[in-house]
């Protein structure tokens, strides 16, 4: 994924990649008309990095030490360590620039009003029901956005969302479930969109305690998994097989690994070598959101029975899962969107100092590979390092990653210019325009 200029016109790293300087576009304006300068950018990042704000962006924008505004149009980022992917990571969804007055003043104002620099301005926000935004006339690119007004309707029930689009009540969907996609393809007056992405659902092993600290047990379960069947079960066929590494063709530094075949006898042998000759009982926990987690858990249970595994499936509300199981559990289902870069996904999930480090794999060799890759600029060298990292995960299986989801959606045929972004959390509505024949709304 290559970064696209937004507020900054240009940027350049220092030789040792530990300091980046960004040049801002001239006369940028906030939604309320006040000017947006380097001081606002610095204040916004300062608020993000302050633990008190508890901002989600804090551990997703890379190892940033401090941000200073050298003049009204230049911002300098000091990093704790060399980091090649900073520009991409700064485009993180929650890392938006807000006026310094709010960043340093009372943040609670953000509960009721949203002042930013984006292509659309917030009109009204009704939690769990409706969000209305309007074209921002003060946007730095006068041509964009083409749409005057956008209403985002919240559909708790996916089936209902599909029916609403088919009946013409809505113009487009942000994302569709695999189970809905077949219906959307068949409906007339609709254009179904699909793009492979790095979004995946996996089985996380707690590698720091028995029984899953023993690599052979993990490998045994990996051998039971029929990945082709799982693509059908979990993604209704709209997905690609995973080989237990978090990268797939959607990532630039993806290195193909040989496809793993189902080998029940091999799995049974590994299990007995690991001391579980008469089978292994374990509870696989799946939160209830998204529903795919439960489906994967049930499929894993059935596929692992012949090899002597007895996997009991336990679901729980997402909140309880976050509180009691996530990052602590020994055997649970994970679900992640694609990260902008390979380093992003590795250092988020699998390195020892990873923000989430759900598997507690803590593999020193793997950490070294990722750290080195992070600090090298040369493309081929980075590809080789990431390749070795993937091979290591492929062999030691800290977590089974059997299936990647294609991102699916659908729009009415009169909607033009909408491209599905593999990252799964980026919706470029500013590039969308409506052909004539689109109904007048609202």
């Amino acid at each position: 994924m290559t970064p696209e200029p937004d507020l900054a016109e240009s940027w350049a790293p220092s030789a040792d990649l530990a300091e980046w300087t960004f040049k801002l576009r001239p006369n940028l304006l906030f939604h309320d008309g006040t000017p947006c300068t380097a001081a606002d950018v610095a204040a916004s990042f300062e608020a993000m990095l302050n633990p008190q704000t508890a901002s989600p962006a804090r551990n997703n924008i890379g190892p940033v030490e401090g941000v200073t505004a050298s003049d009204s149009a230049t911002v300098v980022f000091k990093l704790r360590a060399p980091y090649a992917d900073l520009p991409v990571m700064l485009a993180y969804t929650n890392a938006r620039i807000i006026p310094a007055a709010i960043a340093r003043g009372e943040m609670t104002r953000l509960d009721r009003e949203a002042i930013g620099t984006g292509p659309f301005r917030l009109i009204s926000y009704e939690p769990d029901r409706l969000i209305v935004v309007q074209r921002n006339d003060r946007y730095y690119d006068p041509a964009r956005p083409y749409l005057d007004r956008v209403e985002v309707v919240v559909y708790p029930d996916p089936t209902a969302e599909g029916s609403a689009l088919i009946s013409g009540a809505t113009d487009m969907m942000l994302s569709a479930l695999p189970t809905e996609y077949a219906r959307l393809q068949r409906a007339q007056g609709l254009r179904a969109l699909r793009t492979p992405s790095g979004q995946f659902c996996n089985v996380n092993f707690g590698c720091d305690a028995p029984p899953f600290n023993d690599m052979r047990v993990r490998q045994a379960l990996a051998l039971c998994v029929d990945r082709a069947a799982l693509v059908d079960f979990v993604a209704e066929g709209f997905g690609t097989q995973g080989q237990d590494t978090p990268l797939n063709p959607a990532y630039t530094y993806f290195v193909e690994q040989p496809a793993k075949k189902v080998d029940i006898a091999g799995a049974r042998r590994l299990l007995s070598e690991a001391g579980h000759a008469n089978g292994l009982k374990a509870t696989l926990i799946a939160s209830d959101r998204p529903a795919v987690r439960t489906q994967l858990a049930v499929a894993i249970r059935e596929m692992s029975l012949p090899a002597g595994f007895d996997v009991a499936v336990q679901t729980m509300p997402h909140a309880t899962y976050l509180d009691q199981v996530w990052r602590k559990g020994s055997f649970y289902i994970g679900f992640y969107n694609m990260q902008p870069t390979a380093d992003g996904i590795f250092s988020l999930l699998y390195t020892s100092n990873a923000a989430w480090n759900e598997t507690r794999w803590n593999n020193a060799a793997f950490d070294r590979l990722v750290a080195e890759a992070r600090a090298t600029v040369d493309q081929s060298r980075r590809r080789e390092l990431y390749g070795q990292a993937q091979a290591l995960m492929y062999k030691e299986v800290p977590s089974i990653i059997p299936v990647f989801f294609d991102l699916l959606t659908a729009t009415r045929d009169y909607v033009e210019g909408y491209r599905l972004h593999p990252r799964g959390a980026v919706f470029r509505l500013d590039q969308v325009w409506l052909r004539d024949g689109a109904p007048r709304r609202g």
């Binding site: 633990p51 209902a160 509300p317």
Partner: protein, 315 residues
């Protein structure tokens, strides 16, 4: 309905609301995970969680939180939602208004259908109409809400594509589209209510028709219509008022599932969302508003009953 009785009923209502709020608050205290975990979601780090809990006052003792909530309520201040920061009361009242709209439409449809149906079945007792009525009402009473809702969606929204399956458009924005969206949920709820109420009206009507005063009226030589539609009907409809009033309470809180399936942001759904998000002020406000609506409906039922049936004297 003397003033002292009214005062006592209000006192009893306050007691009920108090017990409700204590039970709900008590249970929410023991729920695993809290609002902070939910808000932070995947991005929580221990010290960030601690900071957020502090800001939301979740670190205080349960009792302290409850008393703070109670003192707030007594001064009309229901607090702000922990999830969205919006003030709680307007959101709850908004949700309540949507549920009331749903309730009003469903009960109106129910009354229009259930009363004549029940009366017809009673007057033609044992006839083909009565047997058919018996069959349909049994099925109506036995379907859980989500089964009825699913079948209604399958039939009317998917196969016949007559009405939109879900989504909510406020009537104030666009009456016609709003009504079309409410059509299926209203139909689902009224099927359930019609089954219950028409069975009740039928049995009340049958009892009235076999009563002494109806026999006396017949022996006075009055016309059959006058006997059935004046003497019997008047007495049969009395208990219906209580049931209809209680139904409003049922529709508000009881059909959480219908609101879930048809994505109607009513009081029931608001409660589910806030319980899942452990949004304490919202849960408390929702439960108390729900319970008080229920209690008010009970009072209205008793009041209506006393108004129409002079025999009832509330001392």
């Amino acid at each position: 309905m003397s003033a002292s009785y009214l005062a006592r009923r209000l006192l009893a209502m306050v007691y009920t609301l108090l017990v409700v709020s204590i039970i709900v608050f008590g249970v929410t205290q023991i729920l695993p995970a809290d609002a902070a975990t939910v808000i932070m979601g995947e991005n929580a780090t221990p010290e960030q969680l601690a900071a957020l809990r502090d800001r939301l006052g979740l670190n205080d003792l349960g009792v302290v939180q409850y008393l703070r909530w109670l003192s707030g309520v007594l001064t009309g201040e229901f607090g702000a939602s922990m999830r969205t920061g919006q003030p709680v009361l307007p959101t709850i009242l908004e949700a309540l208004s949507r549920s009331l709209t749903l309730a009003a439409l469903s009960i109106a449809l129910m009354l229009v259908v259930a009363l004549p149906l029940g009366i017809l079945a009673a007057t033609k007792r044992g006839g083909p109409v009565d047997v058919l009525f018996g069959l349909v009402s049994y099925v109506g009473v036995s379907l859980p809400e989500f089964v009825t809702a699913t079948l209604v969606i399958l039939l009317l929204a998917d196969w016949l594509q007559l009405l939109p399956a879900t989504g909510y458009v406020p009537l104030t924005d666009n009456l016609w589209v709003g009504l079309r969206h409410l059509a299926l949920p209203v139909l689902t709820i009224s099927i359930i209510l019609i089954a219950h109420v028409s069975r009740m009206v039928r049995s009340e009507m049958v009892d009235a028709l076999h009563s002494d005063y109806v026999r006396a009226a017949r022996l006075k030589g009055l016309s059959e219509n006058r006997v059935v539609y004046v003497h019997a009907l008047r007495n049969a409809l009395l208990p219906t008022i209580t049931i209809v009033a209680l139904d409003v309470g049922y529709v508000l809180g009881g059909i959480i599932v219908v609101e879930e399936i048809f994505a109607i942001p009513g009081l029931g759904r608001q409660l589910i969302v806030s319980i899942q998000a452990r949004d304490l002020p919202m849960i408390q406000a929702g439960a108390v508003v729900l319970a008080s609506t229920y209690a008010v409906m009970n009072l209205v039922a008793d009041f209506g009953y006393a108004l129409l049936d002079k025999r009832i004297q509330y001392g």
